[in-house]
């Protein structure tokens, strides 16, 4: 089952990754190689109900509701590529909608 360039572009859009025209053929080929490789799992027969595995603690620890954030040695303004009057600023939304 080959994945088409259109599908690759659709995935790239979901991931907000621009793909240059020139790079697309190589990317599609590599994408198919990788997906073809990992798809060997898909070929295995379906199993019964197995709980997904995770190492580490079995239950999440709860944090007490006490104010005490991790301190920032630099303020947001120092990190931001664009900052105005206390706000992060980005080019105005056009084709995007809020949630």
């Amino acid at each position: 089952m080959r994945i088409s360039p259109d599908e690759v572009l659709k995935v790239a859009r979901l991931a907000e990754l621009a793909v240059a025209e020139a790079d697309l053929p190589t990317l599609v080929r590599q994408f198919n190689d990788i997906v073809g490789y990992v798809a060997q799992l898909d070929a295995l027969p379906p199993e019964g109900d197995i709980t997904p595995f995770a190492s580490g603690p079995a239950a999440v620890r709860w944090r007490p509701d006490v104010v005490g954030p991790e301190p920032l040695v630099l303020p947001p303004a120092a990190l931001a590529p664009a900052f105005r009057n206390g706000f992060f600023v980005v080019p105005r939304l056009a084709s995007m909608e809020p949630e």
Binding site: L72, A80, V90, S95
Partner: protein, 459 residues
């Protein structure tokens, strides 16, 4: 040597090793500052040990770039828990080391700032993704270094470079401040010239952290008492890790090491981990999936590269930032990860991979339940390969992780010990322990270390 002299000596060594391209950030001023800090207070158990830090662990005074253009010049406003503990224990942060971009790679060829050269032969790769840290320790610049593992990124370069590389049990060391790649797999791990150096550093940085909900509710691991021999231990040799076409040098090294293991009094027995062939494809579904979400925060809004002018809207900002800021390997993995999580494919890929992971972990549990104390395998299928050899074919590069990957999926502690040389190139042997048995693993490794000359030719 005084701490100041130690700082100056480390600076000289870093300067002398510049051709390795193993370091992304260091400065004399920073080393002086570290030495002064250590001198000012009571010195912790590491006694001023200079430790290099992989550049995907956030530090306050040196930048953290993850070897990516998207974080070029980024200085973190907070410090990783592991770094805070390292420094409190008397460690001197020596430098930030080069890596495969965002820890995605097995050769350190995917750094945006140039590849790292193998200390013994610059045409070879040191392994990856923690190649910078491994190379520095191998070159004798620092006695220990922090790296990170998601699918073997410390054990594999440790084997290629001929140093000790230790991945602890998942949850042993806090990930708070480790830039996330595959969250359920990521482990801050340690390189050392010796098992003892690695164990001391690991002990210093380990322990429960309320900031990281995936840490084990346990105090820091004590430095284990090294074993004198391996009497009373049963070491399993999983047959899937000794294929007939194993590199002859690796095989010779393993044969020699296994003989030594028996000399030291351990019993060896063949075991089987039947789902081993599925480890790499499972990993290359789960890790990219988690990465695709972990790297979504790099959108150029709150931090990142200088903003290009004339962007028509915010979507253009995202695509410009991420398209130019991420290298090709990172982009490939984000795309694969997005694909395997997307509607219609989740069950076929991500769902199945999760279930396969459980089976792989179960293989190990079952073997350990039969009275096996440790497993011993080759760390890598071959010694260090040439730069450029595997960069054309992503899947070929993935297969370099074939012996280290399953351990990461199972969350187990594992380490690579240098066991000899083949044609002048280091060979690594891997010890794998049950979950939580980091101490006993290191104790046994110390005995084996004493019994083997890592520079001896094995053929």
């Amino acid at each position: 040597m005084s701490l100041r002299a130690l700082g100056a000596d480390t600076a000289a060594r870093l300067r002398a090793a510049e051709s390795l391209n193993a370091v992304l950030h260091w400065s004399e001023a920073h080393l002086e500052h570290e030495a002064a800090r250590l001198e000012a207070g009571p010195l912790g158990p590491l006694g001023g040990m200079p430790v290099a830090v992989k550049d995907n662990i956030v530090t306050l005074d040196l930048p953290t770039t993850c070897a990516s253009r998207i974080l070029e010049g980024y200085v973190s406003p907070y410090e990783a828990t592991a770094i805070r503990r390292l420094r409190a224990a008397g460690g001197m942060v020596a430098a930030k080391t080069n890596l495969d971009e965002f820890a995605m790679g097995s050769s350190t060829e995917h750094s945006a700032f140039g590849r790292v050269h193998h200390p013994l032969d610059p045409a070879l790769v040191p392994g990856g993704s923690s190649g910078g840290s491994g190379a520095l320790v191998a070159a004798g610049v620092v006695p220990a270094a922090l790296g990170s593992e998601t699918g073997g990124s410390v054990r594999q370069p440790a084997a290629f470079c001929g140093v000790v590389g230790v991945k602890p049990s998942y949850g042993r060391v806090s990930r708070f401040g480790l830039v996330a790649f595959g969250s359920s797999l990521d482990c801050i791990s340690v390189f050392g010239r010796t098992v003892s150096d690695a164990a001391r550093v690991l002990s210093a940085i380990s322990g429960e952290d309320p900031r990281d909900a995936t840490t084990l509710a346990e105090p820091p691991m004590p430095v284990p008492e090294p074993r004198a021999d391996l009497k009373g231990l049963t070491i399993g040799l999983p047959k899937e890790y000794f294929p007939p076409d194993l590199d002859p040098g690796v095989r010779a090294g393993m044969d020699r090491a296994i003989a030594r293991i028996r000399d030291l009094g351990a019993r060896t027995v063949e075991v089987s981990l039947p789902h081993s062939p599925y480890a790499v494809p499972t990993y290359y579904i789960l890790a990219p999936a988690e990465a695709s979400a972990n790297l979504a925060r790099y959108d150029g809004v709150r931090y990142g590269p200088p903003r290009p002018a004339g962007l028509p809207d915010v979507r253009a900002l995202y695509q410009a930032t991420r398209g130019h800021g991420f290298g090709p390997e990172v982009r490939r993995r984000i795309l694969i990860g997005t694909y395997v999580l997307s509607a219609g494919y989740y069950e076929a890929y991500y769902g199945k991979a999760q279930r396969m992971r459980a089976r792989i972990a179960d293989d190990f549990s079952q073997v350990f339940a039969t009275g096996i104390d440790l497993l011993f395998t080759p760390t890598t299928p071959t010694p260090a390969f040439r730069a450029g050899e595997k960069t054309e074919d992503p899947v070929q590069m993935y297969l370099a992780d074939i012996f280290v990957c399953a351990v990461s999926l199972a969350g187990l502690p594992g380490m690579s010990l240098p066991i000899g040389r083949s044609g002048g190139l280091p060979i690594g042997g891997q010890l794998i322990a049950p979950y939580g048995a980091d101490g006993p693993m290191l104790a046994a490794a110390a005995a084996l270390e004493r019994g083997l000359d890592p520079t001896e030719e094995v053929r």
